[in-house]
Amino acid sequence: MKRYSAFALAREALSNHMGWERAWAAPQPKAAYDVIIIGAGGHGLATAYYLGKNFGITNVAILEKGWLGGGNTGRNTTIIRSNYLQDSSAAIYEKARSLYETLSQDLNYNAMFSPRGVMMLAQTHHEVRGYQRTAHANALQGVVTEFISPQRVKDLCPILNIDGPRYPVLGALWQARGGTGRHDAVAWGYARACSAMGMDILQNCEVKGITSANGMVTGVDTTKGYIGTKKIGIVVAGHSGQVADMAGFRLPVEAVALQALVSEPIKPCMDVVVMANTVHGYMSQSDKGEMVIGGGTDGFNNFTQRGSFHHIEETLRALIETFPIISRLKMLRQWGGIVDMTGDRSPIISKTPVGNCFINCGWGTGGFKAIPGSGWAMAELMAKGEPGPLAAEFDMWRFKEGRFIDESVAAGVAH
């Protein structure tokens, strides 16, 4: 892999930029690999990358039924934060956030992490108490957040209407080192680094079945033929239930649609991320000037990557009260992603009932922010066969044993 740098830019300019190599190779599958990762989204690629970087395991194939980063990695609102209440969540999301800070240097690929600050508005007295509690918990966890006053909210984001008649802003939980990233670049950067380590990224290669012998996985049947392996990592978000079914176990997961939308581009007017969980909408401004908006999930099982119009209508109706200036904006694009929701709204990074078959799923509506930490924890689990401290509490048996990581209550709604 030729490194990207200012010098490389000058060197390539001499040949009219015709000499740039492909960012990642397009190989044919080998007969077998040490490790197969199913799913070349952010989490799958990050898992493969840290398997190579932290554990020296590079005989790895990453299988993708479509194109890499074409699922939820390319469909989210790119918010990065780690202000969670429970210790195990705060640990893995803070690991991810701290890895994002140096990700561009680490991957030699500009992931455009922008630590512009994330603000979660408290618009009821219940939320004020909830976020104060989270700020105290974060202080104990070593996550830097603070509860700020309505005036400070207004100073940080002047376009906010803090006197809203229905839901006035009573304060906010502020994480100055949260922000946004460039979603595609995260997938592309990891893919380029994986390819440079000699891993095979097999796109348009859909897994059709998982084979096992004596309770241990032996390989996968794919649209490009049978591929043998010693270990499988299932990292497929919305389709986790389908792939788990091929391996022969059930998951506590429901797949629903989550929508997002962007407005026409306007001049810079907002340099923080604002989340309003009571009214259920969140918004930030992209580098292109579009207002990037998300809301809540649809309420029923759905694999179509389309959502119901009344949900985005609800989101916008709520946000217009909080941000009156967006009331005349035209919305340009709207899309849906299929998110995998678990019973406690926290992810699963776990061994499975099948030997040497591991699963990373259930990130629900908040997976993008976790990509580096999720990959780090999943790689440790797959390399050692046992979870490290980051993944230890996210096993799939917690639902049977009642050890919930209950962020759905702790974090309000947006997650």
Binding site: G241, R250, L251, A255, F300, N301, N302, F303, T304, H310
Partner: protein
């Protein structure tokens, strides 16, 4: 927008008139049951990509719970039936089987 026929009042109800209730025909377990049974009842879900039997409530209409049969991959609705059913009616299962020959059937 999803439109479902309420089997009680006979109205074609828009999604905005309804509340979703997820998987139908879950077997309920009470005190004295094992951890596995509680997990199966409370958390383990079929979550199929394809034919699914659900519970919905006609919340802003007659208020009754009922069950639609729906394809989660296409959003096609095969039919609806009253919630007071132990499983999907045979006639509805036959209709789905005719439309989706590769469907594994209701289990």
């Amino acid at each position: 927008m999803l439109t479902l026929e309420c089997p009680y009042c006979g109205i074609m109800a828009d999604e905005t008139e309804l509340s979703p209730g997820y998987e139908a025909h879950l077997k309920r377990y009470g005190p004295g049951s094992s951890d596995e049974e509680f997990e199966a009842y409370m958390f383990a879900r079929k979550n199929p990509k394809g034919v699914h039997f659900e519970r919905w409530r006609h919340a802003y209409g007659c208020g009754k719970w009922f069950s639609p049969a729906r394809d989660t991959a296409t959003l096609e609705v095969f039919g609806t039936y009253p919630a007071q059913s132990a499983g999907p009616p045979q006639a509805l299962q036959d209709k789905i089987k005719a439309k989706r020959p590769d469907w594994r059937g209701y289990t």
